[in-house]
């Protein structure tokens, strides 16, 4: 089963969120609850958690790009 990695709703939808850093590479095992990706607004750094144990299957929004709240920026394939 695939789990979506989503820009969290705690960021204001009106703000541009920049994907700063993925903390795992595609194909790498990831553990639920750990930090997976760092995104920033002008004064806020947000850490998006791994949604489920598994493998980072896909990065849809690479580092350096902007994304809006609610956008799926990656997929984790569950174990």
């Amino acid at each position: 089963m695939d789990y979506e990695v989503v820009i969290p709703s705690t960021a204001d939808g009106a703000l541009a969120v920049r994907v700063r850093r993925w903390l795992a590479a595609p194909g790498q095992p990831v553990k639920q609850g750990r930090d997976l990706v760092e995104v920033t607004t002008e004064k806020i750094a947000l850490y998006v958690a791994v949604p489920a144990d598994g493998v980072l299957a896909e990065i849809r929004v690479p580092a350096g790009n902007t994304a809006r709240v609610g956008l799926v920026i990656g997929l984790v394939r569950g174990e």
């Binding site: 969290p8 709703s9 705690t10 960021a11 204001d12 009106a14 703000l15 920049r18 700063r20 609850g33 930090d35 760092e38 920033t40 607004t41 002008e42 004064k43 806020i44 750094a45 947000l46 850490y47 958690a49």
Partner: protein, 222 residues
């Protein structure tokens, strides 16, 4: 909500930052109630996640010669200066408990800065598009936060009574020649760090509906 107030006093930024990370981990693990960490630091530049090296106007050697430490931190924003006489408060609070999003939380921190400044008779303002607290064209308080799993960290910095000269070594918050001021420089010469601490504590407790009790490092390690 009941919460804890941990005043570290004057401490180097890096170990205080490490302590905040540990406290955040404990908070996320459900081992800590709401916590506000307060500190002053020796001269330090911190680089937020959006920092550009171009915004430090002097060499690393000159910073070292002036006794200024350089620390990379996981908050939003660009480079800024911290030093003795500046109060930093870092609330570790769940946004869900507050019922607000990260951007609203940032504004709430600005409200706290404005309230503290009003307590000292200074009518500071927000400036659209330029987060922080402003006295005219000069910045007197800054905000910059991190959010991990819905819990906030980092927070606000208020210039109470500090040497403002080191701000000229950088483009504060990425803004060239940004005027920076303090409560004392704005005319409140008699301000004390103790009175600023009390005003800040009261404003934070009110803004986040917290009943704050003092705690000490030993309480956290137990």
């Amino acid at each position: 909500m009941d919460g804890l107030w941990l005043d570290l006093g004057l401490v180097r930024y890096a170990p205080a930052f490490a302590l905040q990370e540990r406290a955040l981990a404990a908070r996320l693990a459900g081992r800590l109630p709401p916590l506000i960490v307060v500190q002053e630091n020796p001269p330090t530049l911190t680089l937020g996640r959006d920092s550009s090296p171009d915004n430090i106007l002097v060499s690393a050697a000159e910073l070292a010669a002036r006794g200024i430490e350089l620390v990379e931190v996981n908050r939003g924003g660009d480079v800024t200066y911290h030093g003795p006489g500046q109060l930093i408060a870092s609330p570790l609070l769940y946004l869900n408990d507050l019922g607000i999003n990260a951007n609203q939380y940032l504004h709430r921190l600005e409200d706290v800065l404005l309230e503290v400044l009003a307590w000292f008779g200074l009518q500071a303002e927000r400036r659209a598009g330029y987060p922080g607290a402003w006295l005219g064209q000069a910045k007197v308080g800054a905000v910059g936060i991190g959010v991990r799993h819905g819990c906030t960290f980092h927070g606000l910095a208020l210039n109470v009574d500090l040497d403002l000269a080191p701000f000229r070594l950088i483009n504060p918050c990425g803004m060239a020649a940004l005027p920076v001021t303090s409560v004392a420089a704005a005319g409140q010469r008699s301000v004390t760090m103790q009175s600023a601490r009390l005003a800040l504590r009261r404003a934070l407790a009110s803004a986040f509906d917290l009943r704050l009790a003092d705690c000490h490092l030993a309480d956290l390690s137990g």
